[in-house]
């Protein structure tokens, strides 16, 4: 709700207070109604389960639904805790689709509650929407929800939950972090982001990339596998357990350790040869410094530039629209070291010579 009064969001009680004092009005209910109106044809075919008041009940009734309202106390202003409680209740109810209205902060709350256990979809109503879990606009979000509920949009996609640190942003720094992945329905032209291909074609490319990386894996070398769905395919192809948002360690195609911290990585690779396999964050192109802070300047320096393997699907490169990849490791020297061109693996035996800046 803070966008129109010049705030970059309303996450946190102090920011929310400022927004209200500046005359901001909640935008979610009105935009949620625009999305829900698209579900009108299902009025007698689906049961809407929602939260009280403006958290869902009012928009649902406004659209002519007679919702089942989850009973929990949310008087006055709602907070992130209410969102988390509501989402957890939806999980208990085993809903087919969790349609939520909000921005990146709300997406994080939903992620905290449901992880990958529900299919969700965001109606874009927030100020910050770096996450890939939102529809293009309320109407097209409603259309996609309709297609999904009618079993016409059969494909699911793992989509990034991103958020910018609002305190850092208010002091002029843009630090978008990867918090996790939600499962969303997918149909071309309905979801935000520039990826133009279907989940199938991207998955095939991810498999091809994984095959290339595995083919070139050397014996006795540690492979530090960074977060992301592209790198996850490597682990799947090796039949290894992995953490989607964490850093895992592989040697001789076997899992050494999962979800490592900076210190654990440094301890493991000390005096050994190691390579980092990293994928940039889709849409923004950050290679180091967002969502993979375990790969600290010290780790990067220890491994060395020549041992960094960058992987990305062509769709991900395309989504950058010609802008370079970037690094924000926190160490200007390391950032400079990483600047220049990398040969990004974009398929089996296929590379893109692509620029990295800091």
């Amino acid at each position: 709700m803070g966008g129109r009064v010049g705030l970059k969001g309303t996450d946190g009680p102090v920011t929310l207070e400022s927004a209200i004092l500046m005359g901001a009005r909640p935008e979610s209910p009105e935009r949620a109604i625009r999305a829900m109106k698209r579900l009108g044809s299902l009025k007698d075919k689906i049961q809407v389960i929602t939260c009280p008041g403006d958290m869902g009940e009012n928009p649902a009734r406004n659209c002519g639904f007679d919702p089942m309202v989850i009973d929990f106390s949310a008087p006055g202003r709602t907070t992130a805790a209410h969102t988390i409680m509501g989402a957890a209740a939806m999980l208990d109810q085993k809903v087919d689709l969790l349609l939520f209205a909000g921005g990146d902060g709300t997406a994080r709350d939903i992620y905290q509650a449901v992880k990958d256990r529900l299919v969700v979809l965001g109606v874009p109503t927030g100020v910050k929407m770096h996450s890939a879990v939102f529809g293009y606009n309320p109407e097209r979000t409603g259309d996609l929800a309709l297609l999904y509920l009618q079993d016409k949009a059969k494909h699911l996609k793992t989509a990034e939950v991103m958020d910018i640190d609002e305190r850092a942003l208010s002091s002029g720094q843009v630090n978008a972090n990867l918090y996790g992945y939600l499962t969303i329905p997918f149909a071309k032209g309905h979801v935000q982001g520039l990826k133009s291909s279907s989940p199938e074609s991207e998955q095939y490319l991810q498999q091809a990339i994984a095959a290339d990386v595995i083919k070139n894996m050397e014996d006795n070398v540690f492979y530090i596998i960074c977060p992301g769905t592209t790198t996850a395919r490597i682990m799947e192809r090796l039949n290894l357990d992995y953490t989607l948002v964490g850093v895992d360690l592989v040697r001789d195609k076997k899992l050494v350790a999962k979800d490592l911290s900076e210190k654990q990585i440094l301890d493991a690779i000390e005096g050994r040869e190691a390579k980092i396999v990293v994928t940039p964050i889709g849409g923004q192109g950050c290679l180091f410094g967002r969502g993979n802070q375990q790969l600290s300047p010290k780790v990067i320096r220890t491994v060395g530039r020549q041992n960094i393997v960058v992987v990305a699907t062509r769709q991900k490169i395309t989504s950058l629209r010609g802008t370079p990849l970037f690094v924000d490791s926190g160490d200007p020297g390391i950032n400079r070291m990483l600047s220049g061109y990398f040969q990004v693996i974009t398929g089996y035996q296929v590379r893109a010579a692509y620029r990295v800046v800091c």
Partner: protein
């Protein structure tokens, strides 16, 4: 808003036959042809024609061919012909990158004449002097147009010509003792996708160069990509955006300095015939598509021919045979000890060579330049007209002329109305226009590529633009009409998940049956 509305769109409605495919027609035992009884004299010579064949090549069971009468076959294919928009029927400029131009019918008659059609590739050279002369002279024309020194017509299309280039590159480095070491081929993201694919088929690693902010390949990226592993650069210029890379000679120099060869994909030569040449940019190899640029019909309407040319240094690697002329007699020379061997049986698609020869002879050198000039003029006329249509854009090189085609975008239209390029292509079919939702590799969002060539009249170009204008207006005013198109055409709206999932494809009837049997897809 509607600046292109003066041209009236025709009322079009396509025939729809709901025609099954031929394997689903006919009945068991139905026959199209009754073979005549063998004459006694022949039977005395060869017997029944089967029992003397080696058992290894005799079928164990008859082929699973359709069983259907001649008349039904004729109807089947006529109905099918009415259910597509053939090159001779519609304004085909929406099939950008394919250089759809007029294929003079008299050239088809030459190819169908018994003087040509009755030739057999195993005839003695002395009996095919005329055809060898045409091959020799066509090669001479292409040498003049490219500046390179020797050509072969063996490749059966552009992709096979690129495969030929990659094979020559491999042989060249092998001769220098560097075959294993040089295992990378560099190309650009807006070059033809086969530059990437054909090189990959040869086992080369591929390095793609993306475009810079001006839409031309990033020179700094090339510098970073070349190394002692570089075997070659394969590049198109102008690229599929229609933007000419003015730094092309620098690209070639950088790769040469690293020890690599440079292959020029001239699939987009239609706007530069007689204007620029491969030689002046120091390319080592090149190819032209006779079936596009030189008026022989394109692709499935072909047959195609990728005329592959090289410098004198690489001529020893060309496929055999090559045509020689001693001042009196034409001959076929198989004596190239370093030849890469055959790319295709015999000499290539001779009908494409014949048609290209006839086309060049009818135009002359000035005529070929005029082709390029008109193709560029038509393209830039369309560029201006199309950019007046709401929702369109032409990414990169804003305000500058393009060569022979433009990769446009409907991205603004899609954002503002939800109508995608795919929707537009479906709706354009309602007006009798073919348009495809080009193009791999989708760097430009919601792309469509228009290439008007020299063949289409101003009236036809205006008619096509009026179609685009109409669809744009509808997208903003009544988008459902576009999103539910086609209404007057027989084409369907194929689903993306079907097109992009190889498990669901069936390229042949047999593959379709196999996938159905394996449960990978439903039998329709």
């Amino acid at each position: 808003m509607s600046m292109n509305k003066k041209t009236k769109l025709r009322k079009f409605h396509q025939a729809k036959w709901d025609e099954p495919i031929i394997f689903e027609l006919g009945e068991k035992g139905e026959r199209g042809i009754q073979m005549p009884v063998v004459e006694k004299a022949i039977e005395a010579e060869i017997g029944d024609g089967i029992s003397k064949l080696p058992t290894s090549i005799v079928r164990k069971r008859p082929p699973a061919l359709p069983e259907i009468g001649q008349m039904q076959v004729l109807k089947h294919y006529l109905r099918m012909s009415q259910e597509n928009l053939g090159a001779d029927l519609n304004v085909d400029i929406g099939q950008g990158t394919c250089t759809m131009k007029y294929n003079p019918k008299i050239n088809e008659q030459f190819a169908a004449s018994h003087q040509f059609a009755d030739l057999h590739p195993l005839q003695d050279e002395s009996t095919i002097q005329g055809m060898l002369e045409i091959m020799y002279k066509t090669e001479h024309f292409l040498k003049e147009i490219s500046g390179l020194d020797a050509f072969t017509f063996q490749p059966g299309g552009g992709s096979q010509a690129i495969l030929g280039m990659a094979t020559i590159v491999e042989k060249y480095h092998e001769a220098k003792g560097e075959r294993g070491k040089r295992d990378e081929i560099i190309t650009t993201i807006f070059s033809h996708p086969s530059d990437y694919a054909a090189a990959a088929v040869k086992g080369y690693k591929i390095i793609n160069i993306y475009q810079d902010e001006n839409g031309i390949p990033d020179l700094a990226a090339l510098k970073a990509a070349v190394s002692d592993r570089t075997a070659a650069l394969f590049i198109t210029n102008p690229e599929d955006t229609g933007i000419y890379n003015p730094k092309i000679a620098k690209f070639v120099k950088i790769v040469h300095e690293a020890g690599g060869l440079c292959g020029y994909d001239q699939a987009n030569a239609n706007g530069i015939l007689g204007i620029t040449r491969a030689k002046e940019a120091n390319f080592d190899l090149t190819f032209f598509n006779l079936h596009k640029t030189f008026s022989s019909p394109h692709g499935s309407g072909g047959p195609a021919c990728g005329a592959l040319g090289v410098t004198n240094e690489l001529a020893r690697f060309l496929p055999v045979p090559v045509v020689r002329f001693d001042g009196e007699t034409y001959s076929l020379d198989y004596g190239l000890p370093d030849s890469i061997g055959k790319i295709r049986c015999f000499y290539g698609s001779m009908s494409a060579v014949l048609k290209a020869y006839a086309w060049m002879m009818s135009l002359g050198d000035e005529g070929l330049k005029e082709v390029a000039r008109i193709a560029v003029l038509n393209n830039n006329y369309l560029l201006k007209k199309i950019l007046q249509i709401r929702g369109t854009s032409a990414p990169y090189a804003e305000g500058k002329h393009r060569i022979e085609q433009v990769r446009f975008s409907w991205e603004d239209l899609e954002k503002e109305t939800g109508v995608s390029t795919f929707d537009v292509t479906c709706r354009m079919a309602d007006f009798g226009f073919h348009m495809w939702s080009s193009h791999h590799p989708f760097v430009i969002s919601e792309p469509f590529t228009i290439e008007p060539t020299e063949s289409y009249s101003k009236n036809e170009l205006d008619e096509y633009v009026a179609g685009l204008q109409q669809v744009s207006d509808e997208a903003y005013e009544t988008p459902e009409i576009v999103k539910t198109a086609p209404h007057n055409s027989v084409i369907h709206r194929p689903k993306d998940d079907t097109l992009e999932d190889p498990l669901k494809w069936a390229m042949t009837w047999r593959a379709y049956l196999k996938k159905c049997a394996l449960g990978q897809r439903k039998r329709i």
